[in-house]
């Protein structure tokens, strides 16, 4: 890495809103950090330092502010199915328009098949959960664009 290059990188970093940066190339790796603004963040407990962490699947905020889309989240703990039965087509596909009351998926809980209905007219932008996966309370299942 050349002097000039480094100076440029630092200037770029200084003018950014980042607090830290790490660059790794075949030739070099670069790690930069800005002094902290003085917040004393109380550090959390991390008791399992020698161990793989727990498999957290945190529920995401229900509204994505940046794109105008919303998410449909799971109201229960269950197993997520896109299809009414193994050999059926999915209730909905990306790009589909669904109306209020249309079933979008099945959530199995204690052998009961709970059909989740759309609460408003919308377009399916993305499917966020995997077929047959465990979904938690509050977990985003679909990204949708309200109509």
């Amino acid at each position: 890495m050349e002097q000039k290059e480094l100076q440029q990188f630092i200037t770029i970093f200084e003018n950014s809103s980042l607090s830290e940066i790490e660059i790794t190339c075949e030739q070099y790796s670069l790690h930069m950090k800005k002094p902290q603004a003085h917040t004393v963040v109380p550090e959390g407990y991390q008791p399992i330092s020698h161990h793989a962490g727990p498999q957290h699947i945190h529920a995401q905020p229900a509204v994505k502010v940046d794109s105008g889309t919303k998410t449909i989240t799971s109201p229960i703990v269950g197993t997520f199915y896109r299809t009414p039965s193994p050999d059926s087509p999915p209730y909905v596909e990306v790009g589909d328009t669904v109306h209020k009351g249309d079933v979008v998926c099945t959530l199995e809980a204690m052998k009961l098949m709970n059909q989740l209905e759309a609460e408003y007219d919308c377009e399916i932008v993305a499917v966020l959960a995997d077929q047959g996966a465990l979904v938690e309370f509050g977990q985003p299942l679909f990204e949708v664009k309200p109509l």
């Binding site: 959390g44 008791p47 727990p54 498999q55 957290h56 945190h58 703990v77 204690m110 465990l134």
Partner: protein, 442 residues
């Protein structure tokens, strides 16, 4: 054998259960409400599943979500902890119906013991003394008045399905009785969906003493001695100890034998506690707590037994791991509950360490104390050769304990420990009120 356990609880008891699971090589699945996403039990468990919003009724009491979480995460068993669903027979039933092991007694046992009238019947059948009074539900004011006359005022009315002071009324004079029956019954109906009440002799200032038991459910029952839980504030236990300073060896033997006989009689399975009231050298059966209790560590220390481990061994069909000879109890153990009196974030946390001190807690630097759940944030337990030394060691430990960011009851706990009546060992359940009289009532 249990290989994978879901803990249907939160806070210190969930953390405590997870620790024993790690010792036993059992995989743990925590469940949490959205308010507990960053709490210690969700961090320590091998897997953590969100089961609902902050309100307990929709999360930690949500039977369907909890059982589904256990099934989907491939658990063999569910430990209910204390509080929440731990004494809910319907939950125990649903857990077993889903093909999972419920770590606790059978639903039938829980249901029977939850009914105060039926549990008193069982005690009497097993030859365990019960407080003088009604063995039957109160049906009408006239027969109730007759009974009260017979056992002598004051008497206490209690909800058959109740607990925690709800549906309770102390009656000092005959003329107050009819109205008290109406009010207590209505309150019982409101809180427990069951208006059944019964009547007992009211003891003015008894000691609260309980026997810890373990039963393999196949006929083997052992007791781990007694706990004295007489230091209470509004019926909430604050300080517990074992052995009790007012129980002599003869009474201990007798209470222990009575308790074992009752558990044998009802075919109890798992860990459980029989609560007694003690006054003037006599004791009376009060109720059975069909679960592990908050104060179980004091018995663990004097008996050298991990009660959670025994629960899991029993539930896994492995029976008890306690020696055949009568269990030796050693020294004296004392527990202080540390309660938060405000909510907020813990900005500094230094637990007491060193000889004789154990701390069970879900706190850490950065932990949030939310208003949604029980205010207990830690238990400090000490174990020494004798009571006076336990008290001094507890004072040392509590003074070492640093919790900043929320207010706690540590100072008032130290005041109790240093008070003359507590140190003397001679006091009743009114100790707290005597030490901290409510200025408004003066």
């Amino acid at each position: 054998m249990i290989r994978s356990l879901l803990i249907a609880n939160r806070g210190e008891i969930a953390v405590r259960i997870i620790r024993t699971c790690k010792d036993m090589g059992i995989r743990t699945v925590a469940v949490y409400s959205q308010a507990d996403a960053d709490s210690l039990h969700t961090r320590m468990a091998d897997q953590a599943i969100c089961i609902g919003p902050a309100a307990s009724s929709e999360s930690y009491l949500n039977i369907r979500n909890i059982i589904t979480a256990a099934c989907v995460s491939r658990c063999d068993a569910i430990h209910p902890g204390v509080g929440f669903l731990s004494e809910n027979p319907k939950f125990a039933e649903e857990v077993e119906r889903a093909g999972l092991v419920f770590v606790g007694p059978t639903a039938r046992t829980i249901r029977m013991l939850g009914d105060k009238v039926r549990s008193r019947h069982s005690a009497t059948e097993a030859g365990v003394p019960v407080t003088p009074g009604s063995m039957e539900a109160i049906t009408d004011a006239a027969s109730a008045a007759e009974l009260a006359q017979q056992i002598g005022y004051p008497v206490i009315l209690k909800a058959a399905a109740g607990g925690g002071g709800r549906g309770m009324r102390i009656v000092k004079h005959a003329k107050e009785l009819p109205n008290a029956i109406t009010v207590a019954s209505r309150e019982a109906l409101a809180f427990f969906s069951d208006g059944t009440i019964h009547m007992e002799k009211y003891l003015l200032n008894p000691r609260h003493v309980e026997i810890q038991l373990l039963s393999d459910g196949k006929g083997r029952v052992v007791h781990l001695g007694e706990r004295d839980c007489s230091v209470q504030k509004n019926h909430q236990k604050l300080i517990e100890e074992s052995p009790s300073p007012i129980i002599n060896e003869q009474m201990r033997q007798q209470m222990g034998a009575d308790s074992v006989r009752l558990f044998e009689h009802i075919g109890y399975r798992g860990a459980g506690t029989i609560e007694f009231l003690v006054e003037d050298g006599a004791y009376w059966f009060m109720e059975v707590n069909a679960r592990v209790q908050v104060e179980h560590p004091v018995s663990e220390l004097v008996s050298g037994t991990d009660i959670i481990r025994q629960q899991l061994l029993i539930a896994g069909g492995k029976g008890l791991d306690v020696p055949d000879e009568p269990l030796q109890l050693r020294g004296h153990a004392l527990e202080c509950r540390v309660n938060a009196s405000t909510t907020g974030t813990v900005v500094k946390f230094n637990p007491p360490l060193g000889p004789g001190v154990r701390v069970d807690t879900h706190l850490f630097q950065g932990a949030k104390i939310s208003p949604y759940y029980d205010s207990m944030i830690a238990k400090v337990i000490v174990h020494t050769p004798h009571r006076q030394l336990s008290i001094d060691t507890m004072v040392r430990a509590l003074k070492e304990f640093v919790i900043e960011g929320v207010d706690t009851n540590i100072d008032s706990q130290i005041a109790i420990l240093l008070s003359k009546p507590f140190r003397s060992g001679v006091f009743g359940t009114d100790l707290y009120t005597r030490l901290f009289p409510d200025p408004k009532k003066r």
